[in-house]
């Protein structure tokens, strides 16, 4: 029956490799007979064991760093939470005494009330102490864990960030590590508290009759299991239907938000989108009802059942009260305790189960993250004088099941060369830039820096030699001096140098004028109330940083996209005339800007199809010439028709 399971030798293969989780899931899905079931259990047990042993050195390190210098607080937190569990039994004792005393007609009850007040007060103090400690511990976890994980984020290979799946995991880890860890701690605290409460209740029940205690305990197990099961199910399937909710919300936004409302009118697509919206909601609801509400139903039923059992127990105790072997006080106190217990119990159990479940799932993610390859950067003392950077037969693809983006790229940048890289959308320019910067490691081929091959050992040298201004340059919320000194090895830049550079980049002086406090001007509004700049100004800041940096190679990706024509001309002037000592690779669609380059590389279908100066390439008459012609064509079209006085425009030779 069924498909055969993929063969796997337990003895050898389950060496704690996390790929096995998927195997286990497979076993689980195909579980059809006893053998499969045994297999499943075996794997899970083995894996658990492995998780706890060898593989997770990293994770142990992480865990221990997480709790460093919080252990005492943690212990205190558990203690206080546990003590709070005593409040309920104490209250029960007192209520019993009060009622008994009233029933007996005595006057002791008032005293008990005062004691009850003290118990309340103690509980209150504990409660707030626990809250405060919660804050301290949470903060500590956030700080310690964040520090450890962020360090990792900087060390893992860059290409992981390009992989959607891994990237999502990283995002999830970074946003939830604190809560996941805290959830677990809270669950443990709850377990401790529960133990105390249960003891108190059992004490009363044993007073009433041991058999009742046993009966009630046994009766609580099925509801408990049921709600645990419900939580698990809810947790697992939430991820499968929640996207439909997000989708529905997105569709609503399409119909109501400013950014799409114009198109919504022009194309009149409300009915279509509303249909899709209803569809998404239907799917969401279906999922929610199946996996979220049914468990809720069940839990509600469990609570009901538990309470009914409690009442049944009370009913069973009733003859004893009448026979006066049990006082009214005990009876009432037991009733009340069970009352408040039932309500909190289910809720608490759900929270606890959630906490543990989430913690466990999160552990898997963390340990996956920690197992990612790292490249710990070697410190580079001095950047060697730059002679050349050469790519030899570079091949690259983002994953094994996608086509190659780069298929054997050869190119060479010389010192003081002003080179340019052109190519159509999607020809692989961005990938090539990342390879030149040492961010991506090519699958095949060699990178030579000053004639020496770049390896894992000395990649840092390449990274320190090449700087970049990306198309989507960042807008750092930092002070101007911090921003200018980013990534600088040597001494800080002077204010005069910065202002001079700003003057060159924005000849109208608008950028320097913006910096009211000189180097201390704070940029960006996100963090402090700094100065918000325009897109062009931000781009100039990025350019200034690159120009002032000590890196000999600069890669500029569409560096003038946000600039006005005046500033644009200034940038090219800077590149070609003023900053002769830098070797520049200019990446752009605007071919007018690359005419003066010493060497133009044309990237086509993952290969350098042509290279040479503008004149050479024009003479060759291939892709570049074609591209250039098209762009220029627009400017001469009518002129030529008019009668060929193109000399005026200087286009006559080609």
């Amino acid at each position: 029956m069924g498909e055969p399971l993929p063969e796997k030798n337990h003895e050898h293969d389950l060496s704690g490799d996390f790929a096995d989780i998927s195997y286990i899931n497979l076993c689980f899905e195909k579980m059809q007979n006893l053998k499969h079931y045994c297999n499943y259990v075996y794997c899970v047990v083995k894996l658990r064991k492995n998780i706890n042993e060898g593989q997770t050195m990293e994770q142990k390190q992480y865990k221990s760093s997480l709790y460093s210098s919080t252990r005492a607080k943690l212990a205190l937190y558990f203690l206080c939470s546990a003590l709070r569990g005593l409040a309920l039994p104490a209250e029960m004792v007192l209520v019993q005494r009060i009622i008994d005393s009233i029933a007996a007609g005595g006057m002791l009850a008032r005293r008990y009330i005062l004691v009850l007040g003290l118990v309340f007060l103690a509980d209150l103090v504990l409660f707030h102490a626990v809250n405060y400690m919660e804050l301290l511990i949470r903060d500590r976890i956030e700080y310690n864990g964040g520090d450890y994980l962020l360090r990792r984020c900087g060390e893992i290979r860059y290409q992981y960030y390009e992989d959607g799946e891994i990237y999502r995991k990283i995002q999830e880890i970074m946003s939830r590590y604190k809560d996941a860890e805290w959830g677990r701690i809270q669950s443990w605290a709850f377990v401790l508290q529960l133990a105390f409460r249960l003891t108190g209740i059992l004490y009363y029940l044993i007073l009433a009759g041991p058999w009742i205690a046993v009966l009630l305990t046994v009766a609580m197990i099925p509801p408990l299991l049921l709600s645990m099961h419900a939580v698990k199910k809810e947790f697992v399937s939430w991820e499968t239907f929640f996207p439909f909710y997000l989708k529905a919300r997105y569709l609503t936004e399409l119909l109501t938000k400013r950014r799409s409302v114009r198109e919504a009118r022009i194309f009149q697509y409300r009915h279509y989108v509303e249909g899709a919206w209803e569809d998404a909601l239907k799917k969401f609801n279906k999922g929610q009802i199946a996996s979220n509400l049914k468990p809720r139903y069940l839990t509600g039923f469990c609570v009901f059942l538990q309470y009914a059992i409690t009442i049944a127990v009370l009913f069973a105790l009733f003859p004893q009260v009448q026979a006066q072997t049990l006082t009214v006080g005990v009876f009432t106190a037991a009733a009340q305790a069970m009352w408040s217990f039932t309500g909190e119990f289910q809720y608490g159990v759900i929270q606890m189960a959630k906490g543990f479940q989430e913690g466990r799932m999160f552990d898997e993610k963390i340990s996956y993250f920690l197992s990612l390859d790292r490249e710990v950067p070697k410190q580079v003392k001095e950047i060697p004088v730059f002679c050349s950077l050469e790519l030899r037969d570079i091949w690259y693809r983002y994953s094994e099941d996608t086509p190659y983006i780069l298929k054997g790229v050869n190119m060479k940048l010389d010192s003081t060369h002003k080179a340019a890289l052109v190519g159509a959308n999607g020809s692989g320019k961005t990938t090539l830039i990342k390879i030149l910067l040492g961010l991506l490691v090519p699958e095949k081929g060699e990178i030579l820096l000053n004639g020496t091959p770049v390896t894992d050992e000395n990649r840092e040298l390449l990274r320190k030699s090449a700087g970049a201004v990306f198309q989507d340059y960042m807008k750092y919320n930092l002070s101007l001096s911090e921003s200018m000194n980013l990534g600088r090895g040597e001494a800080d830049v002077s204010e005069a140098a910065v202002m001079e550079m700003f003057g060159m980049l924005q000849p109208d002086g608008s950028l320097s004028a913006e910096m009211r406090d000189g180097l201390d001007t704070f940029l960006g509004k996100d963090v402090e109330n700094g100065r918000e700049l325009s897109g062009g100004q931000w781009q100039s800041i990025s350019l200034a940083r690159a120009m002032l940096s000590d890196r000999p190679i600069l890669i500029l990706d569409e560096p003038t996209a946000a600039l006005d024509p005046l500033a644009e001309a200034a940038v090219y002037d800077l590149i070609y005339e003023k900053k002769k000592e830098k070797s520049v690779l200019l990446v752009t669609h605007r071919l007018g800007a690359v005419v003066h380059a010493d060497c133009i590389f044309v990237l086509k279908d993952g290969k350098i199809s042509e290279c040479g100066t503008h004149e050479e390439l024009m003479r060759a008459g291939d892709d570049y010439a074609g591209l250039f012609e098209t762009q220029r064509h627009w400017y001469i079209l009518k002129e030529e028709k008019k009668g060929g006085d193109s000399d005026e425009w200087g286009y006559s030779e080609s």
Partner: protein
């Protein structure tokens, strides 16, 4: 109508909301009312049953069986109804809130486009509508319903207790008073909480620098990872120190709040005991009282919490209703099928709250079979011009006539049925490739062959087996789809515009994100799109003007020069100068 945000009185807002709920789902509305009343009865009923049981201690157990059974049912329901209610809440949301949301969608299509340009209305437009289904208005309703339920049971408790002994009202009132005092302390707490927000934001920003995909390449290539990690850690430490200091205060405020509440409870117990000791309440009543007091404490704090939420979210209800009360466009006339001429007469447009007009005193005529190119610097009014021509915006002065009918009077469906456009800020629909295209005209029966032919005709190559992108590929990384480059998204926008048959074609910077080759390829496609229609092309690339019949050179909202490309060049004015500058870059040496 610009300028002030409309305000709606809360009483009227709630009344209108109730009416909307009632209209959106009568059955659900009644069910909800019945459930509220039943649920609010449960606590008092349970306590009453318990009193009865304690009073009949001396009867044979069999006589009490019914009492125990009812107690089990009523108490069990009381504890578990919250879980069942969630199911009902879901039904409520799907029917009532869903219907209300649909009305929001409809409303959004009827508002004048001016409103979307009005900064003062911005908040109302972007937030208010969504809140009905996804946010606080729904919360307001659900919490409000619970609050009513709790309120009923509080009142019932008061009545029952009055029957025991009128003096017992005192502790109840005391507990309520403690809760209300608690609100004041709570306010103080919220202020402190708010002070924390900017602190937290700072470290979030630095964390994003270190982990977000779009940032990481620059950080890594700069080697600035350590720098920002230290920034993050000092920002977090700062926030933590501040938070710990603040939360000591917050925690003591909370403790004070709790002490108040607990004192009230103890006082009420004491009163009960005294009354019991004096024989003014029986043992059964005493047992019930203990139960009631405890419940009362819970429900009063529950009530206060919910009321606070209701209070806080009331403004969203007001906004939501204000949104529905925004005046709609009054457009009734319809066009005969095809538009052959659009005339602008003295058209000016000033954005709400803007100091000067974006477009000023433009008169011209757009004819079928003619292409108008609009050029000019950023902010010269090009896009506003296109919005006026399409009828999206109604001029503040002058009129735009579609075959003689002012655009302000033409009903939406008819006005837009003959228009297609590539917007400057075209939308990237997180849907399938197919949907991205057919959204252009949803009425048209969907045929994959037609779509594929369109893609072939436009020579768009990225939708092919080679790239793995098919018509069924989901797009948009936020919703789990594939992410396209800016140029690819723009090509989809062009396809979408082309998919719709129209009399008026508006292309606003249609090639801004494309590489020169693609741009050149699409050139002829644009010409073809405009053929036999009224064509408006907005561009900053003067070279595109060569195929236009008329060129508008705009500056500061006015037409600086108008004429054919050749005429303008010959005139040697501003247009010719700019053209020359752009052409200069392609001069060979």
């Amino acid at each position: 109508m610009s300028g002030d945000i409309p305000k709606v009185k809360i009483t009227r807002a709630v009344a209108r909301l109730l009416k909307m709920i009632f209209v959106s789902g009568k059955l659900v509305f009644f069910c909800e009312a019945v459930i509220v009343v039943l649920c609010s009865l449960l606590p008092v009923m349970t306590a009453f049953l318990w009193q009865r049981i304690l009073e009949r201690m001396d009867r044979p157990p069999a006589e009490l069986f019914v009492l125990f059974l009812s107690m089990a049912i009523s108490g069990g329901l009381m504890l578990s109804n919250g879980y069942f209610r969630e199911v009902f809440d879901t039904i409520f949301r799907n029917t009532v809130a869903g219907n209300m949301q649909k009305r929001v969608h409809e409303k959004a299509q009827r508002l004048p486009m001016d409103d979307y340009e009005d900064a003062a209305l911005n908040d109302l437009l972007t937030c208010a509508g969504e809140k009905f289904f996804y946010g606080d208005v729904l919360g307001f309703i659900i919490e409000g319903v619970y609050a009513v339920q709790v309120l009923i049971s509080i009142v019932l408790t008061g009545c029952l207790v009055w029957g025991y002994h009128p003096a017992l009202e005192l502790p109840l009132l005391g507990m309520l008073a403690a809760q209300v005092l608690g609100i004041r302390l709570n306010k103080k707490r919220t202020e402190l909480d708010l002070a924390l927000v900017p602190m937290k934001r700072k470290q979030e920003v630095y964390k994003e620098y270190l982990t977000k995909h779009e940032n990481i390449k620059e950080i890594q290539s700069l080697g600035a990872h350590t720098f920002f990690r230290e920034k993050w850690s000092s920002a977090l430490r700062e926030a933590m120190t501040f938070e710990e200091r603040v939360s000591r205060k917050i925690e003591s405020l909370r403790a004070a709040e709790d002490v108040l509440k607990r004192l009230a409870v103890i006082a009420s117990y004491l009163l009960c005991v005294i009354l019991a000791e004096r024989g003014m309440v029986g043992i059964g009543q005493f047992g019930a009282l203990i139960l009631l007091m405890q419940q009362f404490q819970n429900s009063s704090s529950d009530f206060v919490e919910r009321i606070q939420y209701v209070h806080a979210s009331a403004v969203h209800v007001q906004n939501g209703i204000a949104y529905f009360e925004l005046p709609e466009e009054q457009r009734e006339r319809s066009l005969k099928h095809s538009v052959s001429e659009i005339t602008l007469e003295g058209v000016s447009y000033r954005y709400p709250q803007a100091e000067s007009a974006a477009v000023e005193n433009i008169s011209m005529r757009l004819k079928k079979n003619e292409i108008v190119a609009v050029v000019g610097k950023n902010g010269s009014g090009k896009t506003t011009f296109s919005k006026l021509v399409s009828g999206l915006l109604v001029p503040t002065e002058g009129n735009v006539y579609f075959d003689g009918i002012p655009s302000s009077e033409i009903e939406n469906g008819s006005l837009y049925s003959g228009t297609t456009a590539v917007m400057q800020d075209f939308v990237r629909y997180c849907m399938t490739v197919r949907e991205n295209i057919i959204l252009g005209d949803c009425e048209k029966p969907v045929s994959d062959e037609a779509i594929e032919k369109l893609i072939r005709d436009m020579r768009i190559t990225f939708v092919s087996g080679k790239t793995g992108i098919t018509l069924d590929t989901d797009l948009g990384v936020e919703y789990g789809g594939m992410e396209l480059s800016g140029g690819q998204w723009q090509q989809l926008a062009i396809l979408r515009a082309k998919y719709k048959d129209a009399d008026l074609v508006i292309l606003d910077e249609p090639t801004a994100a494309l590489d020169p080759l693609k741009e050149a390829e699409l050139f002829s496609a644009f010409q073809q799109m405009c053929r036999g229609r009224i064509g408006v092309i907005i561009t900053h690339r003067l070279s595109m003007c060569s195929f236009a019949d008329t060129v508008l050179f705009m500056d500061k909202g006015k037409i600086l020069e108008m004429g054919s490309h050749r005429e303008l060049l010959a005139r040697g004015g501003a247009y010719a100068r700019v053209y020359q500058r752009q052409a200069e870059m392609y001069k060979s040496e």
